[in-house]
C-alpha cells in the first residue's frame, strides 16, 4: 500500500468539517444510486463517480452519495434518487454522467428538479 502518512493530513483537515456537518444534520441532501446488477450493467458506476466528482468540486458538505439495490424498474436504469432536506424525493432515470453537473447545479444546489430527466417525464413519452 502507498504511504498511509498522507492520510494523517487528510484526517486533520477533514475532522473539523465533519464536526460542522454533524451540527446541522437536517440540511442533508441525499443522492442514492441504484447499484444492483441492472444498474451496474446500465452504467451506474460512472454516474456515481460523476456525482462524487461534482459534489467534491463544488465543496458541497451537506450532500451524501450512497447506493441501493434494484427497485424493480430495470429498464429505466441507471436510476438516481435525490432526496432534499425537506424530504421530497425525485427519481431521475436513464442517468448519464453528462447529466450529473446539471442535476447537481439545478437541483442539489438550487432546489429545482430537472423535470426533463425525471421518471415522470420518461413515463409520459
Amino acid at each position: 500500500m502507498k504511504s498511509l502518512a498522507e492520510l494523517e493530513q487528510i484526517r486533520k483537515a477533514t475532522l473539523e468539517k465533519i464536526n460542522l456537518r454533524k451540527e446541522d444534520k437536517q440540511d442533508l441532501t441525499r443522492v442514492v444510486i441504484g447499484m444492483a446488477t441492472c444498474g451496474i450493467a446500465a452504467g451506474a458506476r460512472p454516474v456515481m463517480h460523476a456525482f462524487m466528482d461534482e459534489i467534491n468540486k463544488r465543496q458541497l458538505n451537506h450532500v451524501t452519495v450512497s447506493q441501493t439495490g434494484c427497485i424493480g424498474m430495470c429498464r429505466l436504469e441507471p436510476m438516481v434518487d435525490v432526496i432534499t432536506p425537506d424530504g421530497a424525493k425525485t427519481t431521475y432515470v436513464h442517468v448519464k454522467p453528462e447529466m450529473v453537473p446539471r442535476i447537481v447545479a439545478e437541483h442539489v444546489v438550487n432546489g429545482r428538479a430537472v423535470e426533463e430527466y425525471t421518471i415522470g417525464a420518461a413515463e409520459d413519452k
Binding site: M1, L4, R11, L15, N56
Partner: protein, 183 residues
C-alpha cells in the same frame, strides 16, 4: 456487463448482502494470460441446495422478483473467454467465488477500471465490511485494505471526498504497472 471489474462490483455486493465482515478480493494474472478473480467472504454462506442452483438465472434470495442474473452473466462471460466460474460455500462460514478468464481470447472482456470499481464498493459500503484487494502479475504485486485506511483515519469516514480521491489515486498508481496491460 462491459468489463470484468463491473462483474466484481456486482458480485461483491452479494458478500455485503450476506453480512460479511471481511471481503477479500484478488486478481492474479499469469504468464499465459490467465486471469483469476477471487472474492472471498466470511458472510453467512449458502446451503448445498442453494449452492446447487446458483448458476441458474431463476435462483435468487430476494423476494421481489424471481430472477437473479449476477452469477449467470459472470459465468457466461468467463466461459466465452475459455475460463470458468466456481463457487464454494458453507452455511455459517462464508463463500469463495473464483472466476477465470483467458485474457488472450478475443472474446475476453477487458478488466476495466478496477480502481474506480473498488472505490465504488467502499463508497457504497463505507462502514462495513472491510474490503481488501490484492493484484498480482509477472510485473509485480500490490495490496490494499480498508482496515488499514480506517485505522489511519481514526474516525473520518471512508466516503469523505478527500479520502475517496486519495484511495482512487493510490489504487491507480499501484494497479496500473501490474494489470495495466489488460485494463
Amino acid at each position: 456487463m462491459r468489463d470484468i471489474s463491473l462483474h466484481l462490483l456486482d458480485i461483491a455486493q452479494n458478500s455485503v448482502t450476506a453480512e460479511a465482515k471481511h471481503v477479500d478480493i484478488s486478481f492474479e494474472l499469469e504468464e499465459d494470460g490467465r486471469l483469476t478473480m477471487t472474492v472471498r467472504d466470511d458472510g453467512k454462506g449458502m446451503s448445498p441446495e442453494l449452492l446447487a442452483r446458483i448458476e441458474s438465472p431463476f435462483a435468487t434470495t430476494r423476494t421481489t422478483r424471481k430472477v437473479g442474473l449476477g452469477i449467470p452473466m459472470l459465468k457466461q462471460n468467463a466461459l466465452l473467454s475459455g475460463g470458468d466460474v466456481m463457487v464454494q460455500s458453507r452455511l455459517g462460514e462464508g463463500t469463495v467465488l473464483t472466476a477465470a478468464f483467458m485474457t488472450s481470447s478475443i472474446d475476453c472482456l477487458p478488466l476495466g477500471d478496477l480502481p474506480e470499481t473498488f472505490v465504488s464498493l467502499i463508497v457504497g459500503n463505507p462502514e462495513k465490511p472491510e474490503f481488501s484487494l490484492v493484484c498480482k502479475s509477472p510485473a509485480g504485486e500490490m495490496d490494499f485494505s480498508t482496515a488499514a485506511v480506517r485505522e489511519a483515519l481514526g474516525g473520518v469516514p471512508l466516503n469523505e471526498p478527500e479520502v475517496v480521491n486519495w484511495m482512487l489515486g493510490s489504487l491507480q498508481e499501484e494497479i496500473q504497472p501490474i494489470l495495466g496491460g489488460i485494463m
